[in-house]
């Protein structure tokens, strides 16, 4: 192509742009464009961003932007602040919310202790975050697919995962759905549409986005994907990948951040400098965003309802940030008083605790019955303790299962390795805990 041929269409394009500009700026003489004090109309043609030109140099400072506000329905005394925001949930639903939070809380306390006594190898509690689990789960449908991080056991409680299933997983016994292959609290349930937890942080995020895309492509899809992660996990590269893929590929996924202020010992101010995780949504990735009080079960519920409706209607993602406080230690391998005071923890354990907040609401409604609560907790304690005794006595799965599930079918080299171990165990059985395993 000659230079001339190339320039003709280019000139044409310029001419067209010129014309467009003229229609926009009206009577403004073209020559004054470069000195224009009205830059808002002077839109650039760069493919990378749609924005006007300005003639004044300015650093865009984080301080120029107001933080995204925190939506709440209840105040800390359990009163609905704005009646129009009351989700008007039936007594039955609110009682289930309360009971599920209590169940999770009670089970956590006992399993935490049982780890301390060396009965299970590891545990992670959910203290302080019960409302974000229960409130979000309650706003979803069972067909919605959940990807979690590890501190979302309440979602499973809401969906009907049983005490024996939780505890069997922690013991990795013969009834563990995961076949004893993963550490405690790495739950999963096909039946409840809860994808099995894995330890590497944030890896579930782009996966959830991919699942949402595939679901969107299915005819008549009416299910979305919810992906939970902590604010620490949001620093991983996979979080960036997930946000960006979700936005660019139009995926019906709710990216639910549990911002509890700490990633093990690292406080959130050492995790990021922006406006939390929500701040990344609208301007950063072009994603609709909600920030809620994660200790307010109704706020989480309302926001999730809205988010679900939006992602399914628009086939677009939502960034959802639930602010709370990690009341418990990070895990049983952590003593959090090494990096924060017990006084600070206590505030979040009482005044701003999600369970006490809902309890106060129920008191105002006349739905709360102290005797019933005590009896419920007592009953759960009894069930959990009994289950621990049962689960710990159950045999572990057959050791041969160690070789199963690596591939859909066992390849020849694994069959051989299994046989090799079989022969070895036959000869040296006294050195192995075979009696604890199903034969």
């Amino acid at each position: 192509m000659s230079f001339l041929q190339k320039t003709i269409p280019m000139l044409g394009a310029l001419g067209r742009q010129h014309q467009h500009l003229r229609t926009v700026v009206g009577a403004l003489p073209t020559s004054s464009r470069q000195y224009s004090s009205d830059p808002a109309n002077d839109y650039a043609n760069f493919p990378g961003a749609k924005a006007p030109f300005v003639s004044q140099l300015k650093l865009n400072l984080p301080e120029d932007y107001a933080p995204i506000p925190i939506y709440r329905v209840m105040d800390r005394d359990g009163f609905i602040a704005d009646e129009t925001q009351d989700p008007q949930l039936s007594r039955e639903v609110v009682e289930k919310m309360f009971r599920d939070m209590l169940l999770l809380n009670t089970m956590d306390k006992i399993l935490y202790e049982s780890q301390r006594q060396g009965r299970i190898s590891f545990y992670m509690t959910n203290f302080g975050e019960e409302a974000s689990h229960i409130g979000s789960a309650a706003a979803l449908e069972m067909r919605d697919l959940i990807y979690g991080q590890y501190r979302e056991a309440g979602v499973l409680v809401w969906r009907g995962f049983r005490i024996d299933q939780f505890i069997d997983q922690c013991y990795g016994n013969v009834d563990d759905l995961g076949r004893g292959k993963q550490m405690p609290v790495h739950y999963g349930s096909r039946e409840l549409n809860f994808v099995t937890i894995s330890s590497p942080l944030s890896t579930q995020m782009p996966q959830a986005v991919g699942a949402a895309y595939a679901m969107k492509m299915k005819k008549g899809n009416d299910a979305c994907v919810v992906c939970y992660f902590g604010e620490g996990a949001a620093s991983e590269g996979d979080a960036h990948a997930a946000f960006n893929f979700a936005a660019t590929l139009g995926c019906p996924v709710i990216l639910f951040c549990r911002n509890n202020g700490f990633a093990i010992s690292t406080p959130s101010h050492e995790q990021y400098k922006g406006d939390g995780i929500a701040g990344r949504g609208p301007m950063g990735y072009g994603i609709a965003t909600i920030r809620v009080d994660g200790t307010d079960v109704f706020a989480v519920y309302n926001a999730m309802k809205l988010a679900r409706e939006y992602v399914l209607k628009e086939n677009k993602p939502v960034v959802f940030e639930a602010l709370a406080y990690r009341v418990g230690h990070h895990s049983t391998s952590d003593d959090s008083t090494a990096y924060r005071t017990s006084e600070e923890i206590e505030v979040w354990n009482s005044t701003d605790n999600p369970i006490s907040k809902l309890k106060r609401y129920m008191v105002h409604k006349g739905w709360f019955d102290e005797a019933e609560e005590t009896a419920f907790i007592k009953d759960v304690r009894k069930k959990v303790l009994k289950q621990i005794a049962v689960s710990e006595k159950k045999l572990k799965p057959n050791w041969r299962e160690m070789f199963e599930g690596v591939y859909a079918e066992m390849p020849e080299h694994l069959i051989e390795q299994q046989k090799e171990l079989e022969k070895h165990l036959e000869a040296h059985k006294e050195h192995y805990p075979l009696k604890d395993f199903k034969q």
């Binding site: 999963g188 894995s198 782009p206 991919g210 949402a212 299915k218 996979d238 859909a408 079918e409």
Partner: protein, 362 residues
């Protein structure tokens, strides 16, 4: 016409008799796999044909990666977006860990995911997703969840001038990961068969496609649907004296070296295309090693901890009493893959021929 023939002959003699000092793109001569009637296709045509069939037969299948929408930087997905729509054949943002994670999620729902990583050299950002997630999904969930309907297509290997980040052969990194299938085609027919087999295989698969073969390798490829057996090596040339094992482009170098060894050393080499790196065909390899007693393994990837090490150790363990000489590995050197020094880096036919001669006189 005549002059170009002469030039060709001269070039051939020149390459055979002396160490090549020109920077010719190819360091190998392509040996087509003989088959029945088909359509003349190069490797990217055959891959395109495989993906076309997959998208056609499986209406939910998705194809994505960087720049796949317009046809891919190697033209493998050309016309597929027009044919199947931008919802099924689409560009992803430039982020390998995202591509891999996204693909796993797609596969979690049972949908077929065909994900492209533009160059094998750039697969490392997705290493975590592939090794910790894809490979372990079924195992860790007690088979509640899996991502078996996922296949990664990854152009790999030397290309003449690719230097450090357009030449790597990272198969050995993945061969250390239980749960993955890793395969490498040697040409168009195999590429199509392996891809179609991987799309259907219930395990996450990585197909490393030697990119130098995309255009250089031309064969009569059957146009219908067919699959190549996974986990199975191909004996391409039978012989009784030395076993030569390779995969991808290296197979053609070994075939040429075997031909040269026949002519110059009067040696019958058995040439095996390993095809599958994981799980690999131990039976075919040990059978051949026991027959010949002498084994050479050649690959482009570096020597130390290359997949040749695994094969050599296995043969040593299983065929010890049959070996007449130590198992020899002819590989890339333990350096990054260099730019201008590529002719000195590659395990070319001269190094392979020398190894054959050495192993015979051990």
């Amino acid at each position: 016409m005549l002059s170009s023939k002469l030039a060709g002959l001269y070039l051939k003699r020149h390459l055979v008799t002396t160490l090549s000092v020109n920077y010719a793109r190819s360091h190998f001569t392509y040996f087509p796999t003989a088959t029945g009637p088909g359509k003349k296709m190069n490797m990217f045509n055959a891959i395109n044909n495989a993906m076309d069939l997959a998208l056609q037969n499986d209406e939910s299948a998705l194809l994505f990666g960087e720049d796949v929408g317009f046809g891919g930087v190697f033209r493998c997905s050309v016309n597929l977006r027009d044919k199947y729509g931008k919802d099924r054949v689409f560009n992803s943002p430039l982020c390998e860990q995202g591509i891999a994670g996204f693909a796993i999620g797609v596969a979690n729902t049972g949908t077929t995911a065909i994900a492209e990583i533009q160059f094998a050299d750039y697969i490392f950002p997705s290493f975590d997703q592939i090794v910790n997630e894809a490979a372990k999904y079924r195992y860790r969930s007690g088979d509640l969840f899996n991502c078996g309907s996922l296949t990664f297509r990854v152009p790999c290997g030397a290309v003449g001038h690719g230097a450090l980040y357009h030449s790597q052969s990272p198969e050995a990194y993945f061969a250390h990961t239980p749960g993955l299938r890793v395969v490498v085609p040697r040409g168009p027919i195999k590429a199509k068969g392996l891809l179609l087999a991987c799309f259907r295989d219930p395990n996450p698969c990585i197909v490393f496609e030697p990119k130098t073969l995309y255009r250089a390798a031309v064969e009569e490829v059957p146009t219908e649907y067919y699959t190549s057996e996974l986990g199975k090596a191909d004996v391409l040339r039978e012989g009784n004296d030395v076993t030569l094992i390779g995969w991808g482009t290296q197979v053609h170098i070994l075939l040429e070296a075997a031909e040269l060894a026949k002519e110059t050393l009067k040696v019958d080499c058995e040439v095996i295309d390993l095809v599958s790196i994981l799980p690999w065909d131990t039976n075919t390899i040990s059978k051949s090693a026991k027959k010949t007693g002498r084994v050479i393994i050649a690959h482009e990837a570096p020597f130390t901890q290359g997949f040749g090490s695994e094969i050599a150790a296995y043969i040593q363990e299983k065929c010890f009493l049959h070996l007449e000489a130590p198992v020899k590995r002819v590989t890339g050197w333990d350096t990054p893959f260099p730019h201008v020094f590529e002719p000195f880096y590659l395990p070319d036919k001269h190094r392979c021929l020398t190894a054959i001669s050495d192993i015979l006189h051990f």
